[in-house]
């Protein structure tokens, strides 16, 4: 099982775009999640003193991923935290999808953490999830 992500130069001139891929839908979610955490702060500089369980259900993967990424942005603001990791599992059931994740991080601390961009939201601009055989790919633009 593997995932990858890369940042894209020319998709959003004033904001940040990334492409994530995975060899399963779950790995795709892991890749997109890692990319967003990297946009906010360098994860290796973040401690693990804060945790939040997240359970999300949606009828399709497109909506589920955007809702999940938006939830990460929500907790960044609502709890004033940045993130080290977000292990997750994804399951298709009853015509929909369920994701269980644990957001792990720490309160913002500019002295100890390498902070990057304060993402304001996850947009649907050029948002596209594709499946090619076993490989999944998504393009995401975040507003900073």
């Amino acid at each position: 099982m593997s995932y990858a992500f890369r940042f894209l130069d020319d998709i959003a001139i004033a904001d940040i775009a990334f492409e994530a891929e995975g060899d399963s839908a779950e790995e795709l979610f892991v890749g997109a999640t890692r990319a967003l955490l990297e946009v906010l702060a360098n994860p290796v500089t973040i401690a693990d003193t804060w945790q939040r369980q997240v359970l999300k259900r949606e009828g399709n993967l497109d909506d589920l991923l955007i809702e999940w990424l938006s939830e990460i942005v929500y907790w960044k603001d609502a709890a004033g935290v940045v993130f080290r990791d977000a292990p997750l599992t994804l399951r298709g059931e009853n015509g929909g999808w369920t994701m269980k994740a644990t957001l792990i991080g720490a309160p913002v601390d500019g002295e100890r953490q390498e902070l990057r961009n304060d993402v304001k939201g996850v947009t649907k601009h050029r948002y596209r999830m594709e499946r090619n055989g076993a490989m999944w790919k998504v393009t995401v633009v975040v507003d900073v």
Binding site: Y74, D77, G80, R116
Partner: protein, 483 residues
């Protein structure tokens, strides 16, 4: 002339270009771009695609406009202006901008460069300490949900009542710092959750707090400058650029989802999902307008609390009260908003996204303070170049629904900028040029390097040449705080 579009673009005045309705199916009005030939050639394809998409929206009046600082945005281009019939037209979060009431504020002082230079390091440290910036930063003012509701209803007035400002500040804020019609019941719990810690915070991206100098040789209209409190002689001023933070963005995201469904019900189709809209007079449209007004008031309050922190920092460093330092507001103006205004066509809902209201002296809506000068317009350049104080004109009211530019506009993506320079390098080079920078994020600083932006002076010359704004003063940075 090579442009980043295949559409026909006709020059109809020195600084005005028009794309006729024949260039895209569904255009209801022509699109007009304000630009010199050089600026037009540097504009990305998104500007042309998006301004013509806007020209297709129901109820649009006269033209879909783009200012010379225009570039690609979500739905509308940044720099986009469009007015819709207030009865038959639509309202669109993509036309307001997701950072509702992102805007500019300028504060004057009686201090000169000679007073500040020896204490600049301490002043910048104090400002950096008192004005939280960057990822997840929480403001010094702690609110509960009921208090945030009052902020939504009262805007900067709430701040003045709580001691975070002076009563006379209010006359120098667009709409007196409080837009009527906000309704907290139209705002989601998620938006409240995101906004509750954010009052008095700068954010990141292109938002900043800048200490600047107004020199005699960069004042273009001394009488107007004096009337606005800009006296020159290396006078120190402070500029703030920020908005409603995650609170406003959450409102925009919430209503985009609602509008996507509503469009099917109202049989509206758009060329871009980010142009999701609803009839202004529909329940969904009215709810978004009420929520957006609440976010706009939160943004006025945000900049007011930041102003309070700035005044405290100056008072501390110079051991003199802010009143004695003459730290009055010059003006505070939104550049991401939709407002109902009256024009020849009747009552219109004017969307300005990365565009500033620029009412001329004859405008009855202006506070008495600005009936001689016209409304102040504050335009931020990149952190390496100057910014401008301008004033609106009566011609803007006639031609552009009382609108003009808001800043310099990017020419290079954040990822590209970061590949060319490191934040530490930007910081060092700026220090060599006499600009002290304090930043939460070094990668964010690299993304904001001056070369990633258009030349603001050329953008300003365009709007002055077009007669929709007049130059008053150029303001040169000496200290900058970024998230």
């Amino acid at each position: 002339m090579r442009l980043n579009t295949d559409m026909r673009v006709n020059r109809i005045a020195d600084e005005v270009w028009e794309i006729p309705v024949s260039e895209k199916p569904g255009m209801l009005v022509p699109a007009r771009v304000y630009a010199t030939q050089t600026i037009l050639q540097s504009m990305d394809r998104g500007v042309f695609d998006q301004v013509t998409n806007v020209a297709c929206l129901p109820g649009i009046q006269r033209y879909a406009l783009c200012m010379p600082d225009g570039h690609w945005g979500y739905g509308f281009p940044i720099g986009g202006v469009a007015a819709f019939d207030a009865q038959q037209g639509i309202i669109s979060p993509g036309g307001v901008g997701y950072d509702v009431n992102c805007g500019m504020r300028l504060i004057r002082t009686d201090l000169s460069l000679m007073d500040v230079q020896p204490r600049l390091e301490r002043l910048m440290t104090e400002l950096f300490r008192r004005v939280p910036a960057g990822v997840g930063a929480a403001g010094a003012v702690r609110l509960d949900r009921s208090e945030l509701t009052r902020v939504m209803l009262k805007g900067a007035r709430w701040c003045v009542e709580q001691g975070y400002g002076w009563h006379q500040d209010l006359a120098r804020i667009e709409e007196g710092g409080c837009i009527s019609g906000a309704d907290p019941s139209t705002v989601s719990d998620q938006a409240l959750g995101r906004g509750i810690n954010q009052l008095g915070t700068l954010g990141s991206g292109n938002h900043y707090l800048e200490v600047q100098v107004a020199s005699n040789e960069r004042i273009f209209d001394a009488a107007t400058a004096t009337a606005l409190g800009i006296t020159g002689q290396d006078q120190i001023v402070v500029m703030v650029h920020c908005g409603s933070r995650g609170f406003g963005h959450q409102i925009a995201s919430d209503y985009l989802k609602i509008f996507e469904k509503a469009m099917r019900r109202y049989n509206i189709t758009v060329n871009d999902q980010q142009l999701a809209c609803a009839p202004f007079r529909s329940p969904e449209g009215q709810d978004y307008f009420a929520a957006m007004n609440g976010a706009a008031n939160m943004a006025f309050a945000n900049r007011q609390v930041i102003t309070h922190s700035i005044r405290e920092a100056f008072a501390d460093v110079f051991a003199t009260s802010a009143e004695e330092l003459g730290m009055q507001l010059v003006y505070d103006v939104a550049h991401n908003i939709a407002k109902v205004e009256r024009y020849a066509e009747g009552e219109l809902l004017v969307h300005r996204k990365g565009a500033t209201r620029a009412f001329g002296p004859s405008s009855a809506e202006l506070a008495p303070e600005f009936r001689q000068t016209g409304q102040p317009v504050i335009c931020g350049g990149s952190m390496e170049t100057g910014s401008y104080l301008l004033v609106g004109t009566d011609r803007a009211v006639q031609e552009t629904f009382g609108s003009t530019m808001h800043g310099s506009g990017r020419t290079m993506s954040r990822a590209q900028a970061k590949k060319q320079v490191r934040g530490e390098q930007v910081q060092r080079l700026m220090k060599e040029r006499g600009i002290m920078v304090k930043a939460v994020s070094m990668s964010g600083l690299a993304e904001e390097a001056g070369f990633a932006y258009k030349n603001i002076s050329e953008v300003v010359e365009t709007v002055e040449g077009a007669g929709i704004t007049r130059k008053v003063a150029e303001l040169r940075p000496i200290g900058n705080i970024k998230g």
